[in-house]
């Protein structure tokens, strides 16, 4: 589609630019406000800060316990992703490379998890976690995230394993390699792109999740960032400088990661909705 006249091109640019401003301006305003005093935010919301108050961030980090919430979010997210990738890759390998009775059925069983809204099972899940003595621990979150993230990982990885040439593992078997060695050293390195997609597909929803911490976590010292932020907003609701600093601090890591890996993010998060 290249046969466009100049006025058209200008009009298109105006619309696209307007939308880009609509997306970026609120974030820029958030970042600028984070450096102001509350009084300055109220009196001069759109200007550049007269003094750049880095201490807002220091207060959020220490006083409002963001350091703690961050650490909790990192621990829970990483642990969940590791479990999803390890167990997902193992299951995907077996489903994609081995013929056995029940293969298709098991694959469909995992696939059903892509459609089932796990949140609707929160009451039995809550009771289960209570009976396992896991309420108010990170384990409740990790187990829930890992289990509900498995279907996507199994789906993505089974497809990739299936697509690898059949002689690969046969050749390794002839060389006398054990099953685990074939999986770990021969097959797994070949599906690295699928591991990246499965990781990103699950990473952002887990990092951002609010629902399960809300239900499972009581102690402030165990709260993840999204839940910790609601505590923070309740405590500091009049201190807008601190609120904006908190929002900025919470947003920056994800934005940085996104800027570095935007193509992976777009592909990973739209996986399933966009082919290829």
């Amino acid at each position: 589609m290249t046969t466009t006249r100049l006025p058209w091109k200008v009009a298109v640019q105006v619309i696209l630019l307007a939308n880009a401003v609509l997306v970026l301006a609120p974030m820029a305003l958030m970042g600028l406000s984070a450096f102001k005093s509350t009084r300055e935010i109220f009196q001069n919301p759109f200007g550049i800060p007269t003094v750049w108050r880095f201490e807002n961030f220091a207060r959020v980090w220490v006083e409002a316990r963001f350091a703690l919430y961050f650490r909790n979010s990192v621990v829970v997210t990483l642990a969940s992703i590791v479990v999803i990738l390890v167990f997902g890759a193992m299951a995907g390998y077996a489903l994609g490379r081995f013929r056995f009775s029940g293969n298709d059925l098991l694959y469909l069983y995992f696939l059903s998890g892509l459609m089932l809204p796990i949140r609707l099972g929160i009451i039995p899940l809550f009771i289960l976690m209570r009976n396992l003595n896991l309420l108010d621990t990170h384990w409740a979150l990790i187990l829930t995230y890992a289990a509900s993230g498995l279907p996507s990982a199994v789906f993505i990885l089974t497809g990739f394993f299936r697509a690898l040439p059949t002689d690969l593992d046969s050749a390794a078997r002839i060389d006398g390699a054990g099953e685990w060695l074939i999986f770990r050293r021969v097959m797994l390195p070949l599906v690295r792109p699928a591991l990246v997609i499965a990781a990103i597909y699950n990473l952002i929803p887990i990092w951002n999740d609010f629902f399960f911490p809300l239900v499972f976590i009581q102690s402030d010292r165990l709260k993840t960032l999204p839940l910790g932020m609601t505590t923070f907003f309740g405590q500091y609701y009049t201190d807008w400088a601190l609120l904006f600093a908190g929002l900025t601090l919470a947003a920056v890591p994800v934005i940085l990661l996104y800027v570095m890996l935007s193509q992976h993010f777009i592909r990973g998060l739209t996986a399933g909705a966009v082919k290829g």
Binding site: T2, V12, Q13, I15, L16, A20, V23, L24, M27, I41, F46, V83, F87, M90, A91, Y93, A94, L106, Y109, G113, P117, I118, R119, L120, G121, I122, I123, P124, L125, F126, L143, T144, A146, A147, S148, L150, P151, S170, R173, I174, E179, N208, F210, P226, M229, L247, A250, A251, V254, I255, Y258, V259, S262, I266, L269, T270, A273, V274, K275, G276
Partner: protein
């Protein structure tokens, strides 16, 4: 039995005794599949199936009592205050779905069509538009709550300084505007997603089709209307489906911005909030009713699975038509 052909695989299998190989294979399958299956069964399948069963029992607090048949459903549909709460919340989910379809997905389609024309900076725009999708809804909700603060927020300040002071209002505090405002905040966060999906769909249209249509004298609009739109059907189906699922699972945004009761005056109450209050207790009234909560879960479950199944069938049929 005929002896197996001497393929490399069968030679490899013959090396140790065949029986031990088969047993070994079983063991390996168990090792590879066991952990994922067990985890998924214990923490996804079991809770969801139990949730369905829970709706047929009588509950006292968190304790399960006797079998109750359809009693919870009867109470949910036919008794005060449950039927009113259910109708109110359900209607709000429907409104969120409709407005999101029209505003968010409508604009997204327009943006995708513009981006597909190979405008200058398309790659950068793509990345910018998708950025808010990665932000947590908690951040997005709190940020806009500050911007929309009736006294100190920038939205009303901007309206006032633009001479539109009569439009300034407590957007989130007025039950007339709260749900619409919340839906638009949600659209601000999500719009990049349908844009990318539509864009991928448009880019997948073979160039020959477009050139052929143009050679036949079709104008830009006619090409869009008669060539691109029909081929975009799978992408549209996916977006309608995901929008439906998203609208009926709406929880975070109303929860953090308007509170667990969907204020003001239940004007932003939705099914997930109602479900959550019934399951874990309402703050203001202390009302907790796991029977009712489980019945709501079953309703939502049926709704989501039915629509997903219809969507999947439509999708497959449309893909077959294209092939």
């Amino acid at each position: 039995m005929t002896p197996p052909a001497l393929t490399p695989r069968s030679v490899a299998r013959l090396r140790p005794s065949r029986l031990s190989v088969r047993a070994g294979r079983r063991l390996w399958l168990l090792i590879f599949l066991g952990p994922a299956t067990a985890l998924f069964a214990a923490f996804v399948t079991y809770p969801i199936l139990s949730a369905l069963a829970f709706s047929f029992y009588r509950w006292e607090g968190i304790g399960r009592r006797g079998f109750a048949g359809l009693h919870n459903f009867v109470r949910l549909f036919a008794t005060y205050p449950y039927s009113q709460l259910l109708g109110n919340a359900f209607w709000h989910n429907v409104l969120v779905f409709i407005v999101t379809m029209l505003v968010q997905n409508g604009i997204a389609l327009a943006l995708a069509l513009l981006l597909a024309r190979g405008a200058w900076g398309t790659k950068v725009y793509r990345v910018i538009f998708f950025l808010p999708v990665t932000l947590s809804l908690i951040i997005v909700g709190f940020l806009w709550a500050l911007f929309l603060n009736p006294i100190f927020g920038i939205v009303n300040k901007l309206l006032t300084s633009a001479g539109l002071a009569f439009l300034a209002r407590p957007w989130l505090g007025d039950s007339q505007t709260a749900l619409l405002t919340l839906t638009l905040i949600n659209a601000w966060r999500w719009i990049g997603f349908p844009t990318i999906v539509f864009l991928a769909g448009i880019n997948a249209v073979p160039d020959e089709y477009l050139e052929a249509a143009r050679l036949d004298g079709a104008g830009e609009w006619q090409v869009t209307r008669h060539v691109i739109f029909p081929l975009l059907a799978p992408a549209v189906t996916i977006i309608v489906l995901l929008t439906f699922i998203g609208s009926f699972n709406w929880f975070e945004l109303p929860y953090v911005v308007q509170g667990v009761s969907g204020g003001p005056n239940r004007s932003t109450d939705v099914l997930s909030l109602l479900f959550y209050r019934m399951a874990f207790g309402e703050v203001d009234t202390g009302l907790q009713d796991i029977g009712i909560g489980s019945a709501i879960a079953v309703l939502m479950f049926i709704l989501l699975v039915a629509v997903s199944a219809i969507g999947a069938v439509l999708l497959r049929r449309r893909e077959v038509e294209l092939a």
